[in-house]
């Protein structure tokens, strides 16, 4: 019993950084002009674009190694994607994915994912 509790704690401590942390955004991470932050995205287009994200990011729950982005706030997702697009964030898969997205497409994705609460 004690052993299984220890195992559970180990498991949780291992998975917590992946499950909860990765979509947090530092306020000074990148400088985005307010007109980019204020673009109103089309959630229907966002839903189509998001099908690309769902290959790795699960719709329900999450998995180690790939953070959950469901229900993340619009502002955080816009900042995170622009940080990849500007090569501030490092992951090469995400840099590549973000690079081809226009400002409007990033806004569309953010509008869609925010609605998945």
């Amino acid at each position: 019993m004690k052993q299984s509790v220890i195992e559970l704690v180990k498991l949780l401590s291992l998975s917590v950084p992946f499950v909860f942390a990765a979509v947090t955004v530092q306020s000074d991470e990148i400088d985005l002009p307010s007109e980019i932050l204020e673009i109103v995205g089309d959630p229907e287009y966002g839903e189509y674009l998001a099908s690309d994200c769902k290959t790795c990011h699960k719709v329900t729950g999450s998995a180690p190694g790939v953070p959950s982005i469901m229900g993340v706030s619009k502002r955080d997702l816009v900042i995170a994607l622009h940080a990849y697009k500007q090569n501030v964030r490092k992951n090469p898969v995400m840099r590549m994915m973000a690079k081809r997205l226009s400002n409007e497409e990033i806004a569309a994705l953010a509008a869609y994912f925010e609605g998945l609460n």
């Binding site: 690309d52 290959t55 990011h57 790939v66 090469p92 898969v93």
Partner: protein, 420 residues
Amino acid sequence: MKLDRRNFIGSSAAIAAALSAPTVMASGKPRVVVVGGGAGGATAARYIAKDSKGAIDVTLVEPTRSYYTCFFSNLYIGGFRTLDSIGHSYGNLATEYGINVVHDWAVGIDRGAKTVTLAGGSTLNYDRLILSPGIDFIDGSVEGWTINAQNKMPHAYKAGSQTELLKAQIEAMPQGGVFAMVAPPNPYRCPPGPYERISMTAHLLKAKNPTAKIIVADPKPKFSKMGLFQEGWGNHYSGMIDWIGSEFGGGNVSVDPDAMTVTIDGEVTKVDACNVIPAMKAGRICEIAGITEGNWAPVSGHTMQSRIDENIHVLGDASAQGDMPKSGYSANSQAKVAAMAVRGALTGSKVFPAKFSNTCWSLIDTNDGVKVGATYEATDEKIAKIDGFVSKTGEAADLRKATYEESIGWYSGITADMFG
């Protein structure tokens, strides 16, 4: 009474209705039949059913009840996954998405009548047909090997019992024994797959049979992630792996499954286990449908529609589409474009420009993961690569570990995206 478009058009109202939703008006709910329940077919069926919200009847034809993914099957060989962990059933697709899942083989397609015949004898009508059958092997491509030899020299390139058999044969090798692989010529399913398999075989042998040798006879002069694999083989499995490329006679190969010998450029070697991965072609149902040119089924990148029959979409390994590698990730990506196009054609839903992507992760040894990826767009000619990346040699151990962990997350994500 069965209506078709020719006798249906009678009034302007009818014409308007026919233009907005022709198939709905012609035969009740439009019907989509999907053949093949892998990364292409399962994803397409799920997206069409989910996004059409019951407006389209979706039937998925897949022979197996438990589907084992080819991706991550090498990790089973290496001991990093159980076979159960890469097995999936179709229960959610049936109960949560209302997909009619039929476990049978598609054996005939009548493109004129728009029907699919199943081995069990029944016939399915379709308005749109999606073929995602994966690969079959080209007879005679490896001298001495036929499909009848697959128990002595497994291909293990369709996952499941073949993978289990290959792993058992590797584990049964005598100390200091020889494992041989005959690698396939381009193009084939999962470009880094054979080399990840070599890595996982070496990982398994290193622990249990460290004096064993691995020989790879390869008809190609180079292969996917070659620098990364060769660096990793040197780091982890020094002196164990002998890769013989085409420049050194690796393409001049024959096998004798009864004698368990492999002959490479005239030199006969007695082997204890042998993995023959023959040359590949589109799954046979594409040939039966008459939509292949050469070994593959050509498609338009905008919609994944066959260039020979616009009522058929071909996904994944079986398609000839341009620059995308034949991978589960590619098939999943193509399935979403096809699902959108099919819904647009059958229900008038909005269609956006096609976008594709792919990433292939490979495991070289414990916590030593590498990846290669690219984005793509549709042109009139083909699916064309836009941009890409590949892991670098000499990367730090923590980055390689993060790459491996990312691949585990991806596996969980893509299988949820396929099977719900």
